[in-house]
């Protein structure tokens, strides 16, 4: 589990991440080369810098990614929104994650996923967090369990339920 100062850091980082996302987006508009994939990795790098070189060593990779998960989600969602607003004069549109980022029979529609996750968080915040950690943070089952301080089987059960629920919702909202 991340230590208390990590939790505190997470809170203070939150507003900074917004700024970071905005900065990255400005850059993207300037050179038009920053794809979502690169965006995520850039953010990852910057977050690492922000935390300092020893943070990762002290707290471990999983803790770092757990922290990063929220940032990733934030940044991708902002990116998607800015992108759609840009293209369609503020209109609402779904943005797909590029296929290289996730294994994908069909690419994930990011804003739809984000919305669905919000709704899931209303019903069961831990399950939503499990998805966030896995999908946006890349944590595996054990790491999720450790991060959330629950048994492996619990994190597993949370994951399967959340996944099925999200799939169902995503399919229903797309038709």
């Amino acid at each position: 589990m991340p230590s208390d100062d990590a939790t505190a850091l997470s809170a203070t980082l939150h507003s900074e991440l917004r700024d970071l996302a905005a900065a990255l987006l400005r850059r993207e508009r300037r050179d038009h080369t920053l794809q979502p994939t690169a965006l995520v990795h850039e953010a990852f790098l910057r977050l690492g810098e922000r935390l300092g070189p020893t943070w990762r060593e002290e707290h471990g990779e999983a803790a770092f990614r757990a922290l990063a998960a929220t940032a990733m989600r934030r940044i991708l969602v902002d990116h998607a929104r800015a992108h759609t607003a840009d293209k369609r004069g503020g209109g609402w549109m779904r943005i797909e994650l590029p296929e290289a980022m996730v294994e994908a029979p069909e690419p994930v529609e990011l804003l739809a996923l984000h919305e669905a996750l919000e709704a899931l968080a209303q019903l069961d915040p831990r399950k939503a967090r499990v998805v966030e950690l896995r999908f946006f943070g890349g944590l595996n089952g054990d790491e999720v369990a450790e991060t959330l301080g629950v048994a492996r089987s619990t994190s597993e059960a949370d994951w399967f339920m959340a996944r099925a629920w999200l799939r169902k919702r995503l399919v229903e909202s797309s038709s």
């Binding site: 991340p2 939790t7 997470s10 809170a11 794809q35 979502p36 994939t37 690169a38 995520v40 990795h41 990852f44 790098l45 690492g48 810098e49 070189p53 060593e57 990779e61 929220t70 990733m72 989600r73 994650l97 296929e99 290289a100 980022m101 996730v102 294994e103 994908a104 029979p105 069909e106 994930v108 996923l113 919000e118 968080a121 209303q122 019903l123 069961d124 915040p125 831990r126 939503a128 967090r129 966030e132 896995r134 999908f135 946006f136 943070g137 890349g138 959330l148 301080g149 059960a157 399967f160 339920m161 996944r163 099925a164 629920w165 999200l166 799939r167 169902k168 399919v171 797309s174 038709s175």
Partner: protein
Amino acid sequence: MSRTDTPLPGRPAAEPSHGPAELRFQRVAAIFERARMAAASEREDLLLRECALDAELLIEVRSLLAHHDVGVDALDGCVIRPGVGARIGRYRIEGTLGEGGMGTVYRATQLEPVRREVALKVIKLGMDTRQVVRRFEAERQALARLEHTNVAKVLDGGATPDGRPYFVMELVRGSPITQHCDERRIEWRDRVALMVEVCSAVHHAHQRGILHRDLKPSNILVTEADGKAIPKIIDFGVAKALEPGVGMTAASLSTALGHVVGTPDYMSPEQAAGEDVDTRTDVFALGIVLYELLAGVTPVRARSMSGRRTPSPMELRRRLLEDDPPRVSSAIDEERAGARRTTAAALGRALRGEIDWIVLKAIARDPARRYASVAALADDLERLLANEPVAARPPSTGYILAKFARRHTVALVAGLAVVFSLMIGTTVSLFGLRSAQAERDVARDAEREQTRLAAALRGQLFASDVERGRKAARQGNWTEAWQLLYGAIEADPESPHARWALRESAWEQGWIMTHRFDSKVRFARFLPDGQHLFAAETERPPVLLDMLTGEARPLGTGGGADVLEVAVSRDGRYGFTSDTSGLITQWDLVGNEPPKPLVSCHPNRGSCSVLCDPSADVAYAGGRNGVIWRIEYLADPPIVQAIAHSGGVKRLAIAADGMLAVGDDQGGLLLLSLDRQREVRLQPHERSIQSLAFGRAGRLVATGTTGPTIVINDTETGEVVQTVRSKVGTARNLRFGPDDRTLLVLGWWGLHEINLVDGAVTTLIPFGSWRFDVAPDEQTIAMTSADYRMLSIWNIGPDRGGVRGVVPAKSVTSVSAMPNEPFLAAMNRGIAALDERGRPIWHMPVRSARLVVPGPRSPIVAVIGNDRWLRVFDTVNRKSLATSAMPNVRQDSSCVDLVEDRFVAHGTTENAVELIDLKNGSRCEVIPSGPSELLALAISDDGAWLGASFRGDDNRLIRLADGAETTFHGNTTGFAVDFNADSRFMLVGTWRGDLLVHDVQTGELRALVGHSSMVKVVAAHPTDPDLALSMSEDGSVRIWHLGLMREVAMLRPFPRLEWDANSIRSAGWVNAGEGIGIIGIEGELATYSIPMADRVIGQWQATPSINVDVNDP
């Protein structure tokens, strides 16, 4: 905890309020969880029990379970590292092998040019990717030479789409050497023996100038084969590429220091200090591994064991630089001794003394005090095992002096070795070389000589690699062939040797062409002409693709649809598409009718299939809503009617008698007879049907599902006739062979033919694909690639090779390959140009044409008639240029040649050689009367030389300016003559099979060996002076490179049994030298296109970074 960690705004910060929605959700989740864990058979009971009287709850949980059962999808991936199924370059991720300081190691499948399992290491963020890739590229050649059983080959490297470096290595299934030994409680002697093997591998690399720089147990894996432990060293060359260099950011540098280059435990002091490294750095690391293998702990950690605290990296580094390590024998405790089948005391005793010395010598802080090479360390270890005295000595008072002497001895020995190698290369005398100047001269000369030798050696190695690649390809050993040939072309993209070898293999495999699309294309179908294909892209309008030219004609403008299937009407007039929006659209393939939307098969996304009846002007379609539509497409507007209903339609198939098969997404199969009087419903599968095909006789229907099972039912009785375990993965597409005894099955790994009688599987095309279609000739196959971006066309006929055709009519008396058309035929009533398939392009009436002799470059041909008249035609303007009666002309094409449109040389029945100027009709005898039978003649393109071969090894070269004559002999009779394009070489094909190359300027003569029997045709390339081909009675056509003076390709288009190898009538360059045309003894035509092969090679060389969709929508 979890909530303070979920900082998205608007999220409740307190415990979830237990409102009705939340409670309901928890209930659903609880039942879902119980049902998920329950056995499939008990699930339904459990659901009914738990959801008693609450239908809504039941529906919801059932629906969630259905979504759960889908398996793995995008949500299982993650945004910060590739998920299973993701593509990195030409590799597909299959799973994670491990995570280390450097990054993540994946198990992956290389998809092309060969399919194999590899380990793929994606380096963490923070490195300068371009630098890493450049450094890796620089080392790549050297790495390719590492051939050692104990070294896992590094195969490839590059950058991921998001810019992280990756390395591809041979996949090793093993555990770190320390873990391996401890788990099996291997005793110390065997551990030392294992290390000797490791040393030999490292030494092998050192001899090739490659340092490892990051040797540690996790990079020395042990696999077991036949009960024998085999150590494999991984990551050779990786550490060097990852070294911090200029251009790194401060952040990445700190990452590098912390994690990337070397784990502190195994890092030598000079590495930690950032100083230069050499072979002794690897000696140090091996010493530490040996230490750990014996003592169970690394030296820097040996101290802290009592303290029970893991030392920090900083602390480890300090110890490494400052402390003397404790001896191995003193670092042992009982637990670790137990893992070596002994006690601490006994092990300590065993290790005390010599082995302590060896390890201490290997891990000495000062590199000069270590073993000078890994070989020396291995030697000492072997001596130890053999109980011989070792070289390592305990430190003593005489230590410094002794070491000084030793160091100088080493230098002396090294110096001697260099001189020795020079002597072998240059036979330099060592006597009298006393002065420094003389030594420098010798050194400089020797250096030059070494450079020259090295270049020659590299050239030889390169050539031998290419030849090994060609041989491997001929034996069907594609893995090796591709590795060697693509390696060669990457090393030297300009090499004609490698280029031709690749062309040869592309032709050999039956590749006809590859077409790359801008967006997804899932399916293409042949038109009845077998030459055009109808294909639909997702982001562009559908296209008509010409297989011969590679040109794609878009049908209309505008965007595309996400097309799933295409169909073509039986007359080739209309194409049909079904797309993910459920729409069936009709396209005019011939005229300009706008596309007609016909019917919508379902309101939402999902599968959708369309198909044309091959024996009626009717198409059928169906989609997720289960309605089967019949489309009469010739009517205007087309008549569309619903004829039946099934589950969600996944695939359709139609039998020769018009019976329609509908495979649905529940695994059900509906068979509808033509008159719709009979309906049979079968349930061959539990899961969605992926592929479907009728037997040719109509009585069998085969279905494939997700998974390896293919079920064949009898269409009359509905009974299962046969169940085939395909062994090739999910069958994406099926087709019965002509006699229903074989089944073509398309799996992820390629196209296979399964013999239904004995179950034998033959791989026809070794590349995975999505769907395929077979042309009417039953030999040509079009496949969309597994990533949907490419369409490749193959010949899978028994003879494979180039585009095939047949000389059309019986009236044809002879055929030649022609420089500006593919082929030229002499017929009873004229001459005709033929295309690759033998179809006439144009025809010119000529009386009683018997022989046509094309000029070397111009479109001028000489025609010799049965009436012994010689006529010369311009085939472009279709007019006669000259006519001449020649009662004594020899009716033999090898004895006639043309220069431009003016001169004709021909042999006479008296074996004289006559030259005719067609402008003024003047004639002269160049060779008044030959010494024996004239067999062949040629004039050089510049008109300067005439060459002729007579029976009895008599080859004449005559300078036409002054009639000067040279004779040369090849110890065998010449049967074919030509001059290369710049008129420098006279080429003679001989009875023995050699190709004689005679330099007309210098008189130098070379014999190139290749054919095993008589050469009947020699044809120089019309423009490239380096190229010529020869055709022999051994049934092969060989391409020769006159710059390299070697054979670069061999074609054997019509293989026969050995006793009847004479299967080729003629061969030549066609299409302005861009192809090779070969005419078989039975009138078969084969055309090998060079641009087509190069296109294919280029496309496979480029590594597209695209993703593979795992499921069909």
